[in-house]
């Protein structure tokens, strides 16, 4: 277990190192960060002063060393847009993104398991066909559009929920549902297919034949074996939501989390804030990956950690 953890941490470190190098290369060498961040009408003196302030006048290896040093201390410098430390903004916005992600993914998992099981009990039956059709529709509709439709229906037509912002507990409902839907669709399909496979296994028939109540057969035996692929996908959905879908959903609902902040940072050409956000999320993703690998072991003792 200890060796496994070390190996996973090492791999995580490689991922973060890879991100560091790529971000460095893209921002310093492919593009011109000064040109991106300074207004067009900036004079030559302003450019030089700005380069000096951010250390872009030094040689590339020196810059890279300083860059890595800043990363280790989680010090990205001051956001150009808000003129205060970028990490301060990140820590301010991060809880909102975590709340939204947690709400969305929990909603998806909680709905996906019963729906998938019901569909799997009678493959080809009405419930099954309905579930598959709705999931396919849910996967085909763009998420941002779904969010806008929900706003029109629930916030404008029925006036039961707020359109945007994060002022009260009610504000999280629509963004969380929007975030959950594609994940829900994929999870339902997977729960369904894994359960269909498991329910056809001999041990299920044995358990039924010896008189075990059907609920117990499904819940205790089949579901437990179907859980490994489902947990894998749920972990993936968590990562995708955290590092992808929240950007879109937060923009649609003006939910002031990291995703919306990233878009605002791009609009204001604030590369410093954007880098701080990207690294924070990258580190979280690496840790979720490690946590996922450990959780397989707990669910399925057959998986040996090597």
């Amino acid at each position: 277990m200890g060796r496994f953890m070390l190996k996973r941490l090492w791999h995580g470190l490689i991922v973060i190192l890879g991100v560091t190098v790529i971000v460095f290369v893209v921002t310093r060498m492919v593009g011109d960060p000064v040109r991106v961040m300074l207004p067009l009408e900036a004079t030559a003196e302003q450019r030089v002063a700005f380069e000096k302030r951010l250390g872009f006048d030094r040689s590339i290896p020196v810059q890279f060393a300083a860059y890595v040093g800043d990363l280790v201390r989680l010090d990205f410098g001051d956001s150009l847009w808000q003129r205060r430390p970028a990490m301060e903004i990140v820590f301010e916005r991060l809880p909102l993104t975590l709340q939204l992600t947690a709400a969305g993914i929990i909603l998806a998992i909680v709905l996906a398991i019963p729906l998938g099981i019901v569909a799997a009990l009678r493959p080809g039956g009405l419930a099954d066909r309905l579930t598959v059709t709705v999931s396919l529709l849910g996967l085909s509709v763009p998420q941002f559009w779904l969010g806008l439709l929900l706003i029109v229906v629930f916030a404008v037509q029925f006036r039961v929920l707020p359109t945007s912002g994060a002022a009260s507990a009610k504000h999280i409902i629509l963004p969380a549902v929007t975030l959950a839907l594609p994940a829900l669709a994929r999870l339902v399909m997977l729960v369904r297919s894994s359960m269909i496979d498991e329910l056809n296994q001999q041990y299920v028939k044995t358990a039924s034949a010896k008189g075990m109540p059907f609920i117990r057969v499904v819940g205790m035996h089949a579901l437990r074996n179907a859980a490994v692929p489902v947990v894998t996908l749920a972990g993936w959905e968590l990562i995708r939501a955290l590092a992808g879908y929240t950007v879109v959903v937060e923009t649609v609902f003006a939910w002031p989390g990291l995703g919306l902040t990233a878009i605002q940072a791009i609009e204001r050409q604030d590369l410093i804030l954007l880098q701080a956000i990207v690294f924070t999320v990258a580190i979280m993703v690496v840790f979720i990956n490690i946590a996922m690998d450990i959780s397989y072991k707990m669910i399925d003792p057959r998986i040996r950690l090597a």
């Binding site: 490689i14 991100v19 790529i22 893209v26 529709l137 085909s140 992808g244 950007v247 590369l271």
Partner: protein, 330 residues
């Protein structure tokens, strides 16, 4: 081994190089199978319609998608009060025709989708062939690279690249391809590993075929059906991704048109003009649904186990329908 009535061989590249009548009958067999799967057939029809609309957009679009007309701002669709058939799906905040914009937007979606599938697929298959065929250090290097990139969600890096390089259609294609090649590499490598030990590959090597020829003539044909399904699914994913990037203002830039971009403009007028958000979004949804339907048909058709199941269902239906007479005849 049971042989389904509709179970003609799937066209493989060897047929293409061979006799024309074989290619023809293979294509007809496939067509017949597709006809049996109604959702897949409808999906294909919708896609063909979309491609035609995209190609002939300048001829069939009722208006210039960029032509503004301030007097005709925010006109509703034709069937709503105040609407007219001059602008069947209404106009946007600058008086541009929504239907024409959707028709031209189809070009962007298809172009980006095709571009990314070709670039990511080409690179991914190449890397997968290298990894699987040469093995050893090449393999572990490439697969380590793939694992590292898969473990990390691409959108974050995409945001940085887009912020530095600036959004455009080319940037979108490059960014999406950078994030999408790994899955091709993995599948290709898997198939190559299983095919490598086959006698015909060894035979080809023994008679002195160069690696490039072995890979191209003997290994690559095995990849047609898994890669075909994958490419179709990736195509759908990319259309959604392009729409999302354009919606966020990081994709296609005005004055060019894109469905995602149109939804973003429509968002500002959502409460007064529902049609601005509704129709482009519906276009995306229908196209992606059509692709998904086609993909699920392709998946079942290219997977022998799924074919077996489908054949069993087909026989069960036939027996239930025509009674035992058919069963005995069989």
């Amino acid at each position: 081994m049971v042989d389904a009535p509709s179970d003609h061989s799937v066209a493989s590249p060897d047929d293409i190089g061979g006799r024309p009548h074989e290619l023809f009958s293979a294509a007809r067999g496939l067509g017949k199978e597709l006809w049996q799967d109604k959702p897949g057939f409808i999906g294909l029809l919708l896609l063909v319609a979309l491609v035609l609309v995209a190609i002939f957009a300048p001829l069939i679009a009722p208006h210039d998608p960029a032509a503004q007309s301030l007097r005709e701002r925010l006109l509703p669709p034709a069937w709503v009060l105040d609407g007219s058939w001059v602008h069947p799906l209404g106009t946007d905040n600058l008086g541009r025709d929504v239907l024409s914009r959707i028709m031209f937007g189809a070009r962007v979606s298809l172009l980006v989708g095709t571009g990314v599938v070709v670039v990511a697929g080409g690179f991914g298959v190449f890397m997968g062939l290298l990894a699987g065929y040469f093995g050893g250090r090449t393999d572990s290097f490439i697969m380590r690279w793939v694992d590292t990139q898969v473990a990390f969600p691409g959108l974050l890096l995409a945001l940085i690249i887009l912020a530095v390089v600036g959004p455009s259609m080319t940037t979108v294609i490059v960014v999406l391809a950078l994030n999408g090649w790994m899955v091709y590499a993995r599948i290709t490598r898997g198939v190559v590993l299983s095919v490598r030990e086959e006698p015909y590959v060894e035979a080809a090597e023994l008679v002195g075929c160069k690696p490039a020829r072995v890979l191209y003539r003997h290994v690559l044909p095995n990849l047609t059906s898994p890669l075909l399904t994958l490419a179709i699914l990736e195509f759908a994913r990319i259309i959604l991704a392009e729409a999302a990037l354009s919606f966020l203002g990081l994709g296609v830039q005005p004055p060019a048109t894109s469905w995602g971009l149109d939804v973003a403009t429509g968002k500002e007028y959502m409460f007064r003009a529902w049609w601005l958000v509704t129709f482009p979004g519906l276009a995306i949804g229908i196209v992606v649904l059509a692709i998904n339907l086609l993909a699920s048909w392709a998946r079942v058709t290219s997977d022998p186990q799924e074919r077996e199941k489908r054949f069993a269902r087909f026989m069960a239906r036939r027996q239930a329908g025509a009674g035992t007479r058919e069963a005995i005849a069989k």
